[in-house]
C-alpha cells in the first residue's frame, strides 16, 4: 500500500492517458466522455420509457443506474485482465509494482463511472424523477464498488497471464452474471424458489447500495451496507492474496 502511494502521480497520468487517448484526434475530444454515456443512456431511456411503454418512467432510471455500475464493473475487470500482457515490455524492464497496471485500469473505469453520473443526473431532472439527499450517499457506494471491482481485477490479472483462456472464460461468466444480476428486471419479478440464486450473486449487494439512493431515494440499510462492504473486502483480500502468491511468477510467464 505504501509503495503504491508513492506512485499516485503516475496513476493520475495513466488515467488521464486512458481518458484522453480514447477520444484524441476526434472533433469533440474530451466532450465525448460525457456525450458517450449520455447518448447511451438516452437510447435506453427512450426504449424503456417510450417504446416499451412500461408502467413507470422510473423503470428507465432503475435500468440506467444498474447499467452504469455494471458497465464500470465489466469494463474494469476486462481491461485489468489484459493489462499485464498489454504492458509486457514495461514489466520486463521497470521495477514497478505489478499491481499498478490492473489498478490503473480500474481507476480509468472509475473515472468514466464518475463522469457518467453527470448525464444520469440530467436524465433524472428531465424525467422528473425525485432527487433527494440520499444522492449524497453515492460517493460511499462508489468507493465500495471500486474496492470490489479492484479486488476482482487484481485476482484475475495474474491468472490471465498463466492461462490464456481465463479471458474467454471470464467473458462468458460475466455474460451469465449479467443475467443473474437484477439490472434489466426487478428482483420482485423472480419466482420465489429462484431468488436464492440471485442472492448468492456477489455483485448484487454492491449494485444495490449504488442504485438504491438513486432509484428509491433511500440511504441503504445497515444490513445492505454491511453485505456490500463484506463482499468488497473479501474480493480485495482474494485479489491481494492471489497477487502476493503469484506476482513473482508473472515475469516468468508473460
Amino acid at each position: 500500500m505504501t509503495t503504491l502511494w508513492q506512485y499516485r502521480e503516475l496513476f493520475v497520468y495513466l488515467v488521464r492517458r486512458d481518458l484522453t487517448l480514447r477520444y484524441r484526434r476526434s472533433v469533440l475530444g474530451l466532450l465525448w466522455t460525457v456525450l458517450h454515456p449520455l447518448a447511451h443512456m438516452g437510447v435506453i431511456f427512450v426504449v424503456f420509457s417510450g417504446v416499451l411503454s412500461l408502467r413507470t418512467e422510473s423503470y428507465a432510471v432503475y435500468v440506467l443506474s444498474g447499467l452504469l455500475f455494471w458497465n464500470f464493473f465489466t469494463q474494469s475487470v476486462t481491461t485489468s485482465m489484459t493489462s499485464l500482457a498489454a504492458n509486457r515490455a514495461l514489466l520486463l524492464k521497470v521495477p514497478v509494482p505489478k499491481t499498478i497496471f490492473p489498478l490503473s485500469a480500474c481507476l480509468s473505469g472509475l473515472a468514466n463511472w464518475v463522469i457518467s453520473i453527470g448525464p444520469l443526473l440530467l436524465i433524472l431532472v428531465v424525467s422528473g424523477h425525485p432527487m433527494g439527499t440520499s444522492l449524497l450517499f453515492l460517493p460511499i457506494a462508489i468507493v465500495v464498488g471500486f474496492l470490489f471491482t479492484a479486488g476482482v481485477g487484481l485476482a484475475l490479472a495474474p491468472l490471465a497471464v498463466f492461462f490464456r483462456d481465463v479471458v474467454e472464460m471470464v467473458t462468458v461468466v460475466l455474460r451469465l452474471l449479467y443475467y443473474l444480476t437484477p439490472i434489466m428486471y426487478p428482483i420482485t419479478m423472480v419466482p420465489e424458489r429462484f431468488t436464492w440464486i440471485i442472492r448468492l450473486n456477489p455483485v448484487g449487494p454492491v449494485l444495490e447500495i449504488f442504485r438504491g439512493p438513486i432509484y428509491l431515494g433511500l440511504i441503504p440499510s445497515v444490513q445492505s451496507m454491511a453485505a456490500a462492504l463484506l463482499v468488497a473486502l473479501v474480493a480485495l483480500a482474494v485479489g491481494a492474496t492471489v497477487y502476493r502468491l503469484t506476482g513473482d511468477r508473472v515475469a516468468y510467464h508473460i
Binding site: 506512485y7 497520468y13 487517448l21 515475469a251
Partner: protein, 266 residues
C-alpha cells in the same frame, strides 16, 4: 573504486517449459488429472556470482540466448531469481523504448512524464529537468508531436535522455546504443563517462565490440547462462571472438554447448 552497487550470489533462473505446451486452464487441469505435468527445465542463468562497484561500467557479451537479457532483468529487479541472492544498492534506471513505456499517441512531453514517473521520479523533479531531457534528445521542435511520428533513433535518444537525467545509481543499457547516429553515440559515451565519474554503475549488453570497448573497462562473457569469463574488456572480447572464429573454422557446435543444446531466446 566505490562501494559495491550490484551483488549477485549464486543466481540461477529456471524457466519451466512444459513438454506439451500448456496455455489454457483446461489443458492444465487435464494434464494434472492425467498423471501429472512433465516439464523440461531451462536454466537461463546458472549459478552466476558477480559484484559491480560504483563508477564501474560492465559490458555483457555472449551469443543470442546466452542469458544476457535475463541477467539484465535480474539486476533490474523485474525478475526474481529461482535461487541465489541479488542485492542492488540504489535506484535502477533501464532505458525505455517504443513498446516499453512509450505510447505512440501521446506527445513527447507526455511520454517523458509517464516514463520518468515509472522510473520513480516525482512530478516536480520532472518539471525542473524536462528542458534538459528534451535538449539532450535533440527533439526541441518535435516534443509536442505524437511519439508515433518519431524515428527509432529519436525514440532511443529520448529514452536514453530520460533514464540518465537524474544520475541513477545503476543504469541498464540493453543494446540501445546501436540505433543512434554517430553523433548521438558519441554524446551517449560522453554522458556515460560523466555518470561513471559521478559514481553511477552502468551495465551494458551489446553485440557491438566497438560499443563495449568505447564504454567499458570490464566485461563478462555469458554462454548458456554461465559466466565463461569475467575480466578486462579487451581480453574478454578477444577470447570470445576467438571461440567464434574457431567455431566457424571447424564448422561444429560451440565447445561449451551442453548435450541437447537447448537455448533460451528473449
Amino acid at each position: 573504486m566505490g562501494p559495491v552497487r550490484i551483488n549477485l550470489e549464486g543466481v540461477s533462473v529456471r524457466y519451466r517449459l512444459s513438454t506439451h505446451r500448456i496455455h489454457s486452464l483446461k489443458e492444465w487441469l487435464i494434464s494434472c488429472l492425467g498423471g501429472g505435468l512433465s516439464y523440461r527445465d531451462l536454466w537461463a542463468l546458472r549459478d552466476v556470482s558477480m559484484s559491480v562497484r560504483a563508477g564501474e561500467t560492465l559490458g555483457v557479451i555472449g551469443p543470442n540466448g546466452a542469458g544476457k537479457s535475463t541477467l539484465l532483468r535480474v539486476v533490474g529487479e523485474v525478475l526474481r531469481p529461482t535461487t541465489g541472492r541479488v542485492r542492488i544498492a540504489g535506484r535502477v534506471a533501464p532505458i525505455l523504448s517504443l513498446g516499453a513505456g512509450f505510447s505512440g499517441d501521446l506527445t513527447g512531453v507526455e511520454n517523458v512524464y509517464i516514463n520518468a514517473l515509472l522510473l520513480g521520479r516525482t512530478r516536480s523533479e520532472i518539471d525542473s529537468s524536462i528542458d534538459g531531457i528534451v535538449d539532450f534528445a535533440g527533439l526541441a521542435e518535435f516534443i509536442d508531436s505524437p511519439a508515433h511520428t518519431y524515428s527509432t533513433g529519436m525514440m532511443a535518444r529520448l529514452g536514453f535522455a530520460i533514464a540518465t537525467a537524474w544520475a541513477p545509481e545503476v543504469l541498464i543499457l540493453d543494446e540501445v546504443l546501436s540505433v543512434g547516429d554517430a553523433h548521438h553515440v558519441e554524446r551517449c559515451r560522453a554522458r556515460i563517462e560523466s555518470l561513471q565519474a559521478a559514481g553511477s554503475t552502468v551495465l551494458m549488453a551489446s553485440h557491438s565490440r566497438h560499443a563495449i570497448l568505447a564504454n567499458c573497462r570490464r566485461c563478462i562473457w555469458l554462454d548458456h547462462g554461465t559466466v565463461v569469463m569475467d575480466g578486462p574488456a579487451e581480453e574478454t572480447l578477444e577470447a570470445y571472438h576467438a571461440t567464434v572464429a574457431t567455431c566457424l573454422g571447424a564448422d561444429r557446435p560451440r565447445p561449451s554447448a551442453p548435450p541437447g543444446g537447448l537455448r533460451f531466446s528473449g
